[in-house]
Assembly symmetry: C2
Homo-oligomer: 674 residues x 2
């Protein structure tokens, strides 16, 4: 390690810069300014500090690097290519085009070496906090005296925009509370955002803010100086008692004679002329775009040999660990692979059957605890609502310094950071995270839930207090549009169980669904156990919808319900039969997504196309239910905001009643009988 | 004004406390802890500083008081009742019950004296920032030497939870940048949140953070001490160069012998025994719940005489102002009333017709500017995306200190605070605020948009880059589920215009819709001007949906489209006719909400019930379109995340094409023709 900028350094940095602006220029779209300004900082990190193995981006003990400023993607792709990841120059040449590994913003799964999908600002920062938490947690659980097999850092590059988002404040405050000393954040402080100088909207003292959060703040240093950045990183790594923020003063569009230091360099190509002038000013000798000097490539590709060495060393140490701690080694490997322990489903047998009406949040909490007893990777918490969401793991303690071995995370009143941190936990691997809050506060965390779905992360979101059943807290706390909001996110599995048995099945499904996030939607209020004597078992929840009550003759009408409204539909079916000789099938439909994934044959068995008389019952917006009941079906729901009053009263006042269902069904059947 | 706690003070404070806990106890639901702890602070503010008139909660120059910690609602209702607002003891007795003015959380419109609906944490704080901005802006525009007719403060009470939310960080950072010296925030620092001590998740140095934001930080002071709070408020008011945070150390559940200082006092009634014991410990002599000592009531009802005096004085000053500045006086009155100036609609004639394909964001930007020229109350900005969202008012400057006269607000990369601040601007009155960002980032501001709808505020949300048409930025920036998300919010009017003419109509509708928020959804990419030779004029946008193309014979099929997809549907209709002798009606449906509000006769004229062959085309989720196309209609849309590639290519790859529409329509028609 050297402490001054060599010619080699300069050449490598300029190679990163020119490669990035050439990519943007070729795409005629993208962000040249941040790569030009931040290339030196990130080069120093990658060249001098980052422990990684380009040949194996999945090596578990690698350092994580998160580009929170995802718009600087060309910078990351340049580094990945130059250090020898499985991305080709052709990808950079076709930056932002269909089929390229160099997408507009970094995307997990598309590009080897990309640790998380970034672009929406603040998310990468909070993901990094989650990754650093996962590292501490696995280290606490698996490292043994003489065996540091989990032993890495999390680095993150953030922009001014990242630090303006409230999300990053939430995550930074929690990172300070948790004293995440292996988290090092490089702040590309260039004083420019899209609308111009940050002085128009962002005059705060960032250093002071992070110091107040309990961080070590280093700098400002000259982010264009290899030695200053190197010294700052050395300093940050020397103090593991708290997270570090390194403030690097840089120049957006550095090198561009006409655009450097201005918003014009941010979000569009420099243009051919300015690209040429920029290269000239950088002292770049090559006219041909995408030129990579052999010397620079050789220097940076040395990362492969270093990486192979690191991994080999770690493998040796892991072999020694395995000899001494074979069970732990096997467990760690399995947890990192995301595979559940054998027999995990049997854990759910431990959930006692509900003998009296029970809130689904209560049963779900018991299911979580049953699973937690045998699935050590399960950890999570709530945004200061654990006593209400029932998501505490009873036989564990808080995840907190200095031990970091607890499984209950105290996120504070920070829903957005909670979800984004859970994404980071899942991204790191070795953790199956869950996050809980009231359903109405899903709104505070939507961007992170969307990213969980986009990335296909195994994160479990637990939303309780799922309707006007919330009662007295009133309309601010009563979700109306939120179940649909969840259903609208591609790739998110939404489950709203109807009773205790379905609540257990919801957790079973969420655990098994490792290909993407699951949202479990639960009641505050008690609901009766469903009489399944004339229907399918609750395990059919896995099919999304099933006949929970079949009348003794061909049905005249189908009542489709979810969650707490299934018992209303069941009661209505009884009454329809008793009072009107009407045969009603009741379908419990806890999950639209699971149902849509069934073969057509099954779907048509549950909802026969010939039977048009259909009523839906759900204590939320009716918008969207036409998918199953058709234009002429009847949707019982609530299409306005709620009120402050006891929940049972609201169900009555707003017509979410057996009577409403009976009337709707009767009028449909009458319409047919003529 | 005295500077020490008198017996009268103690009696009043205990009256507030006992009234609050009696209300919670009567409801058997609610939050006793915060009212017990914060009663003294808020009493001092209301008794010694707050300029308000209980007889006229709409008096424009009143100080604003925002209870950001909305769960402490009983405290606010107690103060409102005791100072003589139009709320009865009966309301407190029926706290949190159907029909009571004392709802679970404070609700605008329900309870005189409630300035904003609070409960979701952080929102009240950001609303208060917006109110303080509105005050500065109106003062800048209307005050004249010797005439301070806009001259008030904004006070806000926040809890630990409020300050943990990222939203409050965003708003506080902006308030510091804007040097809002008339904003005074009282922080009820009791060290407890629902999960227990704040030490488990919130160890940051709040004072340091706010100092870093550029605030004056006072305290910690003893929040239970009248004199300390009084001195702190005096100090805060003495410095108008920056906003103030007064940190008040308090005890949650103060007075409760068994629950004070613990989370147990937070969110549920103390219980009858503990209520009795608490009263005893407070030295309260009265056994009967809801007892209000005459002396306390008289003392606090003095607020009415003070208020009448303040208002009378202001009216005198306003009369003098009117004599000297009659036009300004009339304008200010009109703007405060929310009424638009005569002839405002004619301003839109100034928008030049689009002669070439134009992005709807561009035309909408012109419509905004045309309106701004004649509607001075219109002000707003974007979350650092103004050059892209085209929402700058060209002939104005930034809203910034010291002048505060500009109409362009630089919100920074803070979508959530932007929306919540706009709510505050609208709540204050005198401003019609707009907020803009990319549609995908609606996710960052959902809680505030929901509250705008719940409160019925005249806020205009402008969302551009509304589909995969965004192109190269990729899936993180391409909204899929967001138009549907907007439609799901009760009370929100969503408009997705199809071309330049509809974009102008969208702004017309949004301006006229003073009863609630409107979201205008706009393209990044150019769209052609629609050929209206065989259809209704664009002014029919006000009806939500209209026939934009009628074939020359009875239609075989209806194509329903919104926004950029209307031109695809039109082209498909031409092709269906040319190639397949199929007559297709094209319906432009820019707004579901406006359409649903039309008489059934009109709706059935546009979408005749007999015509089941229907195709919808919208570059977003198909979920919900069954409402208009039925179970057997065809929805052309996109139900998965997007990709990084040029927008036109994505439309092709994902089948949002004329060809797809033609095929879908043909197969439906063939199905009928057999």
């Amino acid at each position: 390690m050297t402490n001054s900028q060599t010619e080699r350094d300069s050449l490598c940095i300029n190679t990163i810069r020119t490669l990035s602006i050439d990519a943007v220029q070729a795409a005629r779209s993208g962000h040249p300014g941040a790569p030009l300004g931040a290339a030196a900082m990130v080069y120093v990190l990658w060249d001098r500090f980052l422990k990684h193995n380009p040949a194996n981006p999945a090596w578990p003990d690698r350092d994580r690097f998160v580009l929170s400023a995802g718009h600087a993607s060309a910078l990351l792709y340049s580094l990945l290519y130059l250090t020898g990841y499985d991305i080709q120059l052709e990808d950079l040449r076709s930056f932002r085009q269909w089929g390229s590994k160099a997408a507009g913003h970094p995307e997990l799964g598309l590009t080897p070496g990309v640790e998380t999908t970034t672009g929406p600002l603040g998310q990468g920062f909070a993901n990094a906090v989650g990754m650093a938490m996962a590292e501490r947690w696995l280290a606490a659980r698996y490292n043994r005296p003489g065996h540091r097999i989990v032993d890495h850092h999390t680095y993150c590059l953030v922009s001014d925009g990242d630090l303006q988002e409230g999300l990053s404040s939430e995550a930074a405050s929690l990172a300070g509370t948790l004293k995440l000393g292996r988290l090092v954040v490089l702040y590309d402080s260039n004083g420019i955002s899209i609308e111009g100088s940050t002085s128009i909207s962002f005059t705060e003292d960032v250093a002071g803010r992070f110091a107040a959060f309990g961080w070590r703040v280093i700098g400002p240093v000259d982010g264009l100086s290899v030695s200053e950045v190197e010294n700052a990183l050395t300093e940050a790594r020397s103090d593991e008692s708290r997270p570090s923020l390194i403030i690097c003063r840089t120049v957006i569009g550095y090198g561009s004679p006409n655009k450097a230091g201005s918003a014009a360099a941010h979000g569009e190509p420099l243009g051919e002329d300015e690209t040429r002038l920029t290269k000239k000013q950088l002292g770049w000798e090559y006219e041909e775009p995408f030129t990579i000097p052999r010397e620079a490539l050789d220097a940076m590709r040395a990362a492969r040999a270093r990486g192979a060495g690191w991994q080999k060393d770690w493998e040796k140490r892991f072999a020694a660990y395995r000899r001494e701690f074979p069970v732990e080694a096997t467990n760690l490997e399995r947890e990192l692979s995301g595979v559940l322990p054998d027999g995990w489903e049997a854990l759910l047998h431990g959930v006692p059957a509900a003998t009296a009406p029970t809130a689904t949040r209560v049963t779900a909490g018991k299911a979580l605890n049953a699973l937690a007893a045998g699935v050590p990777a399960l950890m999570g918490g709530s945004a200061d609502l654990t006593p209400s969401t029932k998501t505490s793991i009873a036989d564990s303690v808080d995840f907190a310094p200095p031990a970091y071995s607890g499984r209950n995370i105290r996120f504070g009143v920070r829903e957005h950071a909670m979800a984004s941190i859970c994404n980071g936990l899942a991204l790191h691997g070795g953790v199956i995270p869950y996050a809980s809050t009231f359903l109405v506060f899903y709104d505070y965390m939507r961007p992170a839930v969307r990213l969980a779905a986009l990335m296909g992360l195994h994160v479990i979101f637990v939303f309780t207090h799922d309707s006007i059943g919330v009662g007295e807290d009133g309309p601010t706390h009563q979700p109306i549009e939120h179940v649909f909001g969840l259903r609208s996110v591609p790739g998110l599995t939404v489950i709203r169980p109807a009773d205790a048995e379905e609540s257990v099945e919801a957790w079973r499904t969420a655990m098994a669904n490792s290909a993407g996030p699951t949202a479990i939607v639960l009641t505050r209020q008690n609901v009766p156990a469903i009489d399944r004597s004339a229907g399918a078992p609750a395990t059919d929840l896995a099919r999304g919808a099933y006949v929970v009550w079949e009348p003794s003759r061909t049905p005249d009408v189908i009542l489709i319900a979810t969650g707490s409204e299934v018992s209303i539909a069941l009661e209505a079916a009884q009454q329809l039969w008793r009072d009107g000789d009407t045969a009603a099938r009741v379908v419990s439909m806890p999950s639209w997504e699971l149902f849509e994934a069934q073969p057509q044959e099954y779907r048509e068995r549950v909802l026969p196309p010939v039977l048009h008389q259909r009523v839906s019952v759900e204590a939320g917006r009716t918008l969207g239910w036409e998918r199953y009941i058709g234009i002429r079906g009847r949707a019982i729901g609530i299409d306005h905001f709620g009120m402050s009053a006891p929940g049972e009263e609201l169900f009555l006042k707003f017509g979410l009643t057996v009577k409403s269902v009976v009337e709707a069904a009767s009028s449909l059947v009458k319409g047919v009988r003529g």
